[in-house]
Symmetry: C2
Subunit: 320 residues, 2 copies
């Protein structure tokens, strides 16, 4: 990644059907890395073209619009580019922001795609029931912190794993997880999970993959559900680690199901109506890690894969 400069006129070309925006917040998402490949990993996102700006979710302000659905001054969230100003043509992935009584940056996180991921992956894929045992990996991240809070709202017992004492402290003392542990301090993940889940795990919200998944598979309860949101520990490996314990899916009559949040945008409005009251009442909280300036973007993105972020990683370009 390199930062380059050029000048542009802040006006759409005559007759353009696009939307010219000033980007305010950019979202650092692990899935961005999945497009930095030569091949297409899913049917829904092509690999980036080398030399082009990174494409990702963000919050922006409309400066000029050739699309009747948007007008100057509108605040929007959706797919934009990692640049100060962008012309967006694919406005089907651009949404007007109606609720401005939460921080705008939240549209890259708790009320954006990570929030929707937590909602779809936990409620729709896992159908949680009160009293169930829930485990969340990368639990202080953009998605995980919400899954834990949703689990508590549902009356579940929830344990989270993260990669530092600071994050473990957040899980227990800010997000209300029942228990949390630093996986780097647990060389035997199977033993750790057996201690936290003597009865086994009903629901695993999968954010990391690899060894953690393998240990979870050995600790499933009958009819367990695993929601595969991501596997961040695996994306930078030439070959992902081998997972050995899949036969437990049969022995425990368990289900492992993946999802792409981009295919659940139709649920977004319902989700926002569900989550906003909790945010306003302070019953759900959200921690962001804000990097300032476009030039801090590459390090912020790369930092995700080393767990350097604490909470949702955002890049702030401009407050308005």
């Amino acid at each position: 990644m390199v930062v380059t400069s050029s000048t542009t006129k802040l006006k759409l070309p005559e007759g353009s059907k696009g939307v010219l925006v000033k980007n305010l917040y950019l979202s650092c998402d692990p899935s961005i890395q999945n497009r930095m490949r030569k091949f297409k990993v899913s049917s829904y996102a092509d690999p980036f073209k080398p030399g082009s700006p990174i494409i990702g979710y963000g919050v922006a302000k409309v400066l000029d619009s050739g699309d009747p659905n948007f007008k100057e001054g509108d605040l929007v969230w959706g797919l934009t580019s990692w640049e100060q100003y962008s012309i967006i043509y694919g406005t089907d992935t651009l949404f007007k922001i109606h609720h401005t009584d939460v921080p705008l940056s939240y549209y890259t996180g708790i009320v954006g795609m990570p929030g929707l991921s937590a909602y779809v992956g936990f409620y729709e894929i896992c159908s949680p029931k009160k009293g169930e045992y829930v485990f969340v990996s990368a639990a202080s991240g953009a998605v995980g912190q919400l899954v834990g809070q949703f689990a508590k709202l549902t009356g579940c017992y929830v344990v989270g794993s993260a990669g530092s004492r600071e994050k473990v402290d957040l899980l227990k003392n800010k997000f209300g997880f029942d228990e949390a542990f630093n996986y780097k301090e647990k060389p035997d993940l199977d033993a750790a999970l057996k201690r936290y889940f003597p009865e086994g795990i009903d629901i695993y919200f999968e954010n990391v993959g690899g060894k953690m998944l393998d240990a979870v598979l050995k600790n499933l309860r009958d009819h367990a559900r695993i929601s595969v949101c991501g596997m961040i520990s695996q994306y930078n490996l030439g070959q992902p680690e081998g997972v050995h314990n899949l036969m437990n899916l049969a022995w425990k009559q368990a289900r492992m199901e993946g999802f792409l949040v981009v295919k659940h945008l139709h649920v977004h409005l319902k989700f926002v109506e569900f989550v906003l009251p909790y945010i306003k009442l302070g019953k759900i909280v959200y921690v962001e890690d804000v990097a300032e300036g476009l030039e801090s973007g590459p390090a912020a993105l790369v930092g995700l894969f080393a767990g350097r972020n604490v909470g949702k990683q955002v890049v702030l370009l401009s407050r308005e």
Copy 2:
């Protein structure tokens, strides 16, 4: 495994609530091996006690009964022991045979647990639709041969893999698979699957695990379903092989779900009513591999794991 002899009176002890049976057919099932461990792999079956007879499914004739649900002369199928005569106490896993116009041995196969496994795993777990692309591994085995025929009845395109030319021939010419291949002749399983499924795989009926599963994961279509019935290639390994491509579950919004057929016995009658007419009309066929005599049992069971059986492996003790 050793074969031992002793004598017994063919009469139940006074006041016994059990059922004394003469065993006619014993079923060689890969799952028997899962009970030859020191630990319990599922909540539904304890490890065998060394020195005791192997417990498995079979067909038997009632000689004496202390249970009002069974009487002398009844033909039954269900859990029995690998011996010529058995006293069965857990009669909740013993079922009367009502249809005797199919071979009795079929109650160890097509109308027994393997048949029910194919039915539940294909129809209930995978919800197949006409025109979908179906792949079955261990496709000439007790379960696989039926899954392929069910897939054809549903109007799917179905490809099977097996471990010999003889089996591949059966798949194509007896069971009506659209295509079949010998996995031992395909060092690059990924490339083989890409050739047979240029559009990808909608449904994978998993009987083998390991490298085959890994190759399938790379060839899933969006919304694919994997039904985990068993992973026979893995049971004799100290540690099962690593499966690397699980992130495709998310990228393809796919589901992988395991089941234990023993938990679906309530569907058995419905299944028999479904399958019997097809058998009688010759629209579904079934191939058995019959070993004769109790002393041939151990080699027949062990042979499953080397793929020595062609079709459902049965041990015949007595025809009546």
